[in-house]
Symmetry: C2
Subunit: 228 residues, 2 copies
Amino acid sequence: MRSEDRAEIRSLGLFRNMTTANFDAMMHAAYAQEFPAQLQLVRQGSRATFLHVLVEGSIELFSEWQGRDSTMAILRPVSSFILAACIRDAPHLMSARTLEASRVVLIPSADLRAAFRRDADFAVDVVEELARCYRSMVRHTKSLKLRSARERLAAYLLKLSVRNGNAAGFALPYEKRLIASYLGITPESLSRALKALAAEGVHVQGTRVTLTDRDRLAALAGLDELMD
Amino acid sequence: MRSEDRAEIRSLGLFRNMTTANFDAMMHAAYAQEFPAQLQLVRQGSRATFLHVLVEGSIELFSEWQGRDSTMAILRPVSSFILAACIRDAPHLMSARTLEASRVVLIPSADLRAAFRRDADFAVDVVEELARCYRSMVRHTKSLKLRSARERLAAYLLKLSVRNGNAAGFALPYEKRLIASYLGITPESLSRALKALAAEGVHVQGTRVTLTDRDRLAALAGLDELMD
DNA sequence: CGACTGATTGAAAGTGGTCAACAAAAGTGG
DNA sequence: CCACTTTTGTTGACCACTTTCAATCAGTCG
């Protein structure tokens, strides 16, 4: 593994506080790997054998059922994923695939669990990371159940703007079909919803978005500390 | 606190493996309390100060936004709740209220965190419990995003049947309005969806449900290990 | 009994989905 | 680099499902 990967992982919230001895032991059998775009890394239903840490690129977590599928989360570096399945040593509930060429570090879940038992500081960080993931899923579910499609989209656009330093203009970071699936609607509905938001000062050309009436949009989105 | 409450909590998966010394220390400031029905125990946005353990009765976890609300989970004894907020020491994302008269044990979250640091066996159990909660929320979200309302209802009825020993007839355990909210639809829609399921052999009279064609219903519900 | 809450039903409206056609981009291979 | 293919995005027409609102019915509880 590249030493900068190692350093980057070490500096992740998850691994920052563990002792060097435990970190080294845990990483002993870990390895980094490059994956091309659109490669499925995890298949739902399979057993968790490695904790994955995304170092470069981006990852989609999605679920499948009866030929349908839905995007559950979109991950950016540096973040771990499938922590819960590793801990429970249970089948994955979600699949994962790369959205672009990505670099992922794989840590054997048995070594993760051993480190957890040996190092209380690490245990604290693991449980905090997992709590973060849980709360993130709760937020996603709340948005699905409490907001309409248009409201979800409005909130999503505002969050993108915030991520870009409150810019009025920014580019959509992913394909629209992916965003649609994440928001729980079809691509056609997204296309129409974007047009409908022109009334709230949203203008879209290709991947380029411009917000001309932030207040109106915010009123519709109703951004909430407890949901967004 | 009643000694049987204490014993019951001690035998919970969460607390079974910790040392007696740590259990006693953690429970030192804990206390049990009876609450009447329909009492709100937790308000979303407030700070987590106690881990709650439901010993008797039932609890609804729900979320509110802009005057709307939605049932996120329904808990039965014995189960803990708001573990994630305790761990993160963060505002609750969900509110909680009793559905019926309930008995709840309250453990100061600071004591919980202290026990977590001192006792690796307990730490393992906490993280497993949290992973269970996370996975439960993932399942709920999958069902919302991948299934239609009718499919969700079919799956819900089949799960109720399983819970009743695969009985063909059983009573709905909660008010229909609550079930509707949990399934992400209005009470009116639930009423109509139940009627529509007559085609799959579902017959309802009041709270009494009878399934006369399990196979047809199962085909619609598409029960799945990774979602149900 | 009368008041209240929850459940059902009907009618109307709205929202989002499906299907099909087409346009626009992006990727592929000569 | 260009032509071709494939994928992604948009638009229209139509439909299914769900919600909303209102009225009614059915229990429950003082």
